[in-house]
């Protein structure tokens, strides 16, 4: 049995709490949240030891692990406090809003020889796992392009403020949605070397972006695109989809379905037919002992506990992986800022093609 504490009881925190408490090898020793009403309800209806300050929880009887699900701007500080007490850490995404801090925490965890994991749950979705298996087996031949999209109905009108409406607190489509799309690219094919053409658009929000679009450039010549939009009301809930093009075919994968189009199946390491090969959730092994909202949420916690139990440090969704995602987010922010400056400072007529564009436009009108 492992003593586990949980800090942050918002929607994700409550979900993690239910899953962790149900795990047969977890002893949930305490929870922490700064909201009075949350503490009140849990104190009244459960047996949990409830704290208002995270240090008190971290100092509880020897904790093996802590799950951090606070707003993003507190992640770094609390993770450091846990690592310094030799406690293994599971932290929600995005990991750290500050790259220097994130990198420092990766190094601290390595020095302390502790397990770290970040809640990029798509890395535990069986259809994405299968897609990775196919990528590693090179069934599509040489990969030349990847497109990763995340859409959902989070912000559908101008609204008031929560931590999600503030960039400095980790709010916005980039931190909330695009992060998943970026992390999935890193997981499936590895991280890009550079980003270009990043746009952060506001649709309804006042202080953060509601859409993110960017081009990815990989060291081996491959390209990619990220598209994220949390103001799409045609979606019932968040939907993440990845499309990958290779010289031997194409792959489309989302949370439930995997479609692979194979040009030439001969000599592939994994048997596939020529043309479309379709697999569904029910085709992949994904059994969990306790289910809430999706197998992946249970699988990722179970994986975290097993890594601790087995002394494994090769976590597939570690702090290091998350910092990689965070650094691409930073590259996008810098790139978007650069594009904005270029557009505002550079006279339109100075762009060569622009001259012809304006001339023909005048002819048409």
């Amino acid at each position: 049995m492992h003593n586990v504490g949980l800090i942050g009881l918002g929607k994700m925190g409550l979900s993690h709490l239910a899953i962790a408490k149900s795990h047969p090898e977890v002893n949930l020793v305490g929870v922490c949240d700064d909201a009075n009403y949350v503490r009140g309800i849990l104190a009244r209806y459960t047996d949990f030891k409830v704290h208002s300050h995270y240090e008190a929880l971290l100092d509880e009887k020897q904790l093996a692990a802590v799950i951090i699900a606070t707003p993003s701007r507190f992640h770094g500080e609390i993770a450091r406090a846990a690592l310094n007490r030799n406690i293994n850490v599971f932290c929600e995404k995005p990991f750290c809003l500050d790259l220097a801090e994130g990198t420092e925490l990766v190094e601290l965890a390595q020095r302390k020889d502790l397990v770290t994991q970040v809640g990029y749950h798509n890395r535990f979705v069986s259809s994405f796992n299968e897609a990775k298996r196919l990528m590693d087996a090179k069934v599509l031949g040489h990969i030349h392009h990847i497109r990763s999209e995340a859409y959902g109905p989070v912000v559908l009108r101008p609204r008031g403020s929560t931590w999600r409406t503030s960039r400095s607190e980790g709010g916005g489509c980039l931190y909330d949605y695009a992060c998943h799309a970026i992390d999935i690219v890193n997981y499936l094919v590895g991280p890009p070397a550079a980003v270009r053409g990043t746009v952060l658009n506001r649709v309804f929000s006042r202080d953060v972006e509601d859409e993110v679009y960017a081009t990815l450039l990989f060291a081996n010549g491959m390209t990619g695109q990220i598209a994220a939009n949390w103001s799409d009301s045609s979606y019932r809930r968040m939907s993440t989809q990845v499309t990958i093009w290779g010289t031997n075919g194409k792959l489309i994968v989302d949370r439930q379905e995997l479609k692979v189009f194979v040009k030439d199946p001969a000599e592939l390491a994994i048997p596939l037919t020529q043309g479309w090969n379709i697999r569904y959730t029910t085709d992949f092994p994904s059994y969990v002992e306790y289910y809430l909202r999706g197998e992946e949420y249970s699988s990722q916690i179970d994986y975290f506990i097993r890594c601790i139990a087995e002394g494994r440090r090769d976590n597939i969704s570690s702090f290091a992986h998350a910092v990689q995602t965070d650094s691409i987010v930073s590259m996008m922010l810098e790139d978007a800022e650069q594009n904005r400056r270029d557009l505002s400072t550079q006279p339109r007529s100075k762009v060569p093609a622009r001259k012809w564009f304006e001339r023909v436009k005048a002819m048409i009108s």
């Binding site: 929607k11 409550l14 979900s15 709490l17 239910a18 899953i19 408490k21 149900s22 909201a35 009075n36 009403y37 009140g40 309800i41 849990l42 009244r44 209806y45 459960t46 047996d47 109905p153 989070v154 912000v155 559908l156 609204r159 008031g160 929560t162 999600r164 019932r236 809930r237 939907s239 989809q241 989302d254 949370r255 439930q256 379905e257 569904y280 959730t281 029910t282 085709d283 059994y287 969990v288 002992e289 306790y290 289910y291 809430l292 909202r293």
Partner: protein
Amino acid sequence: MDRILFGDNQFFAINHMSEEKARAQAIRFQDVRAVIEVLDAVYEAGIHVFMCTTHDRVREICEHVRSNPQRYSKFAFYPCMPYAHKYANAVTEYGMIEALRQFLPQDGAFAALLKGGLSLATKDVEGIARLLIDAEMKMFKGLKTPVIFLQNVVTDLMLGIGIKDAFRIFADHVQQVYCAEPGFITMNMPRLLDVLEDVGVQNPIICANINKIGFRMCGGIKRYEEVIATRKFRPVAMSVLASGAIRPREAIEYVCRQKNIHSIVFGASSKANIQETKRLIEEYSAS
């Protein structure tokens, strides 16, 4: 409780196998007339129960049934609440207080309590829960609702965190105010049954995935079969076809083989599928 119940996933863009299929169905059923056409086929086939979430669009279906009492004299709803996305999106967008303010009555004790902040308001969580149940039930006023279900996201969240009182509060309110039987939808059936017995919900109605391949049957298929055969409760089987992964005949044969399974809920969008599924259930229930 009826033996055969009709579900609503196909009407509301829910397909656990494929998002593309879900979207295609959502387009087809955008117009409530398309939904009613299917429900009429269901009713004509002799299936009189519609087990549905409290999605805003169900309001239109309720109005239609309410306006045609002779036509739908035997029609009953088994509401499944809450429609979680509605609340989750509101909390994300507005935060807890504002979200609560939207869903609770504008006048009355809670509006006043909310002004004092969440700590004050949540001194009576049970009161808030009862008001939320009433808000969810509003659309069914005047209609038959003999069984009222708690949706799996809430059931399993309460189950996991260990807030057992939630089940007692739900059961009591449903029985006292709506004279209905409480039902619980879950993905973790054996675990839930233990807790329901613990809080005194006798011979509970539990709706869970029950299918031949063990899809989303947490605790394992063998444990499910054992619990169904030996414990006192009323199992309702859902996801019998495992979202299309099992052929209908094989799927229904497996479920009907377990004699203690009380009812089966399924969804379909064509008259042929509705009639064929009903026929198979009757065939295997008789043997």
